[in-house]
Amino acid sequence: MALLEVTDLVKHFPVTRGIIMRHQIGTVKAVDGVSFSVDRGETLALVGESGCGKSTTARAVLRLIEPTSGSVRFEGEELTEASTERLRELRREMQIVFQDPYASLNPRMPVRTILTEPFKIHGLDPGDRVAELLSLVGLAPEHQGRYPHEFSGGQRQRVGIARAIALDPKLVVCDEPVSALDVSIQAQVLNLLEDIQDRLGLAYLFIAHDLSVVRHIADRVAVMYLGAIVEEAATDDLFEAPSHPYTQALISAVPVPDPRKERQRTPILLAGDVPSPLDPPSGCRFRTRCPKFALDLSPDERQRCIDEPPALIDRGTGHPAACHYAETVAVL
């Protein structure tokens, strides 16, 4: 049984107008039917660009945002139906590391208080855990009396990680944990995350937009676009043999720190900008920017893209892709 099993998760945000009398004028379909699973000890990465719904998905899985519909099963137990009490108990098992090290720690609390809070909330005795946790994340236990502003960004992120693992969870959602850090610090924190994963047997749901980081840390990758998963595969498979046109464009757009290689690459350029999740295109959401749609398909084939949303299934390429005409193209 998978540790985390998400099925048809949906999150819609109503868009309202008016101050006194509010009425709904539309819906932002931030997450529109997402399914995936995470096993014990593995790392699944959710990648995509802004507005794809990856952060919303992560928060809905933890019920930090209430899902509109769909199922989230943690160790077989249905989270969406859990009572407030049960949910609080379950929070010990599922934690989150936030993106912004400057905003995710209460500026008026010393680190010691930040780290004992998880224990207090659940009625446990912290004992010497604070010193232990600080050592585990590579910080000096003597500094537990300091306030967040006395630490650098990378160190604050370590405190955030310490907080997330304080109660020994089984699953940690990492929401862009290194995006806000300097390049020379990112590697330190990534190594730390991997160390901790090995030591504690954690599963990670890793949200990121930086594909290089994802290639390094993830076991499996799910690519999201406008609220849906368009391709899912084991990491090396995805990068070496992507079959969805969006994945191909995404990977080809990421520059590599190697001038010789860069000279030989031409990025697949997508047309226009990401459409609004208020009004996604019919059928396949990606068709308005899809180079295949624009250049390779016949009018009949195009009609299919307009009418029929493609299902996320294996189309002979070895892993699921949501494209009627998926084919493998190497872009690295």
């Binding site: 990112q186 590697a187 330190q188 290089s212 001038p259 900008d273």
Partner: protein
């Protein structure tokens, strides 16, 4: 470092920018020299606190003095910008040198229509009427790839997406065909597919107009793909400067080497662990003595904490390190960069 080739367009000599704050003196830029030739792209790479953005702002005369203090020389076509009058600088900005920023809303005024703002830039420097200026503005918007440009010129910045705003800002910056464009983290806030579009646009425009571009960024990938030469800054000083190929494939400074080997790679299968640079970038108020990188440097010896290493190496590739030989050894022994 002077490149072989035509007379440099801009030559920065021993630029220093200091700020007096209530926490002490911040040496944001501490003796930096570089130059750029017409039509070439110079990438300036560094992390936060390296001084890369501040040096660009000094070039444009955007540093408030006080609390800042700018010394040194910035020669644009032989003229020292640091002694130029405000009027001279104003006539230079937009026409000979322009700048684009990470956040397009820095350049775009939210209460004016986009087309109007582009036209305004043109009219600030050329005596032409409203209608012809407007026509040129629309042409520019077309050139930077904004669809339905005539209609969109009458829209406001908030009606544009992030990528479109960036394009509009580029249109404003290139309206008068400046010889030099300073691009300060132009794509950092953009999604990667939009980043590819914008960088491709910049390359195209550069080819058509022969604009020199100073590309300031922390993203080594972007630099690898678009810069002819690269300058690496650390703690307000130049650590290394070289042609792009030389820098990436044969770095001479431990910081550059450290950065390159610590990066997670998109094009490689997963290695066991990343090899990070230990420690963190220094606070600019308390820069370590001698070489600022020495606390984090695996090759550091006694001399590194006492003496700031001079920039050595010749015209094409310089680095400020006492132990460049050890760096070369490590490179040879390590996994291919």
């Amino acid at each position: 470092m002077t490149p072989a080739g035509p007379e440099p367009l801009v030559s920065v000599e021993d630029l220093r920018v200091e700020f007096h704050t209530d926490a002490g003196v911040v040496k944001a830029v501490d003796g930096v020299s570089w130059s750029i030739s017409p039509g070439e792209t110079l990438g300036i790479v560094g992390e936060s606190g390296s001084g890369k953005s501040v040096s660009a702002m000094a070039l444009m005369g955007l540093i408030q003095q006080p609390p800042g203090k700018v010394t040194g020389k910035i020669l644009f076509r032989g003229r020292d910008l640091l002694v130029a009058s405000e009027d001279e600088l104003r006539s230079l900005r937009g026409r000979d040198v322009s700048m684009i920023f990470q956040d397009p809303l820095t350049a775009l005024n939210p209460v004016y229509k986009v087309g109007h703002q582009v036209a305004e830039v043109i009219q600030a420097h050329e005596k032409i009427g409203r209608i012809p200026a407007r026509k040129r503005a629309v042409d520019l918007l077309v050139e930077v790839g904004i669809p339905n440009a005539r209609i969109r010129a009458d829209e406001y910045p908030h009606q544009f997406s992030g990528g479109m705003r960036q394009r509009a800002m580029i249109a404003m910056a290139l309206a008068l065909d400046p010889a030099l464009l300073l691009a300060d983290e132009p794509t950092t806030a953009l999604d990667v597919t939009v980043q590819a579009q914008i960088m491709s646009l910049l390359s195209k425009l550069q080819e058509e107009r022969g604009t020199a571009i100073v590309l300031i960024t922390h993203d080594l990938g972007v630099v690898a793909g678009h810069a002819d030469r690269v300058l690496v800054m650390y703690a307000g000083k130049v650590a290394e400067a070289a042609g792009a190929d030389a820098l990436f494939h044969a770095p001479r400074h431990p910081y550059t080497l450290g950065l390159l080997t610590s990066l997670a790679r998109l094009d490689r299968r997963r290695t066991e662990r990343l090899r990070p640079i230990p420690g963190q970038p220094p606070s600019l108020i308390r820069v370590p003595p001698g070489c600022p990188f020495h606390p984090r440097c695996p090759f550091a010896t006694d001399i590194c904490s006492k003496e700031m290493p001079p920039l050595t190496g010749g015209a094409a590739h310089i680095a400020a390190c006492h132990h460049q030989d050890r760096v070369a050894e490590a490179r040879a022994a390590a996994i291919e960069v």
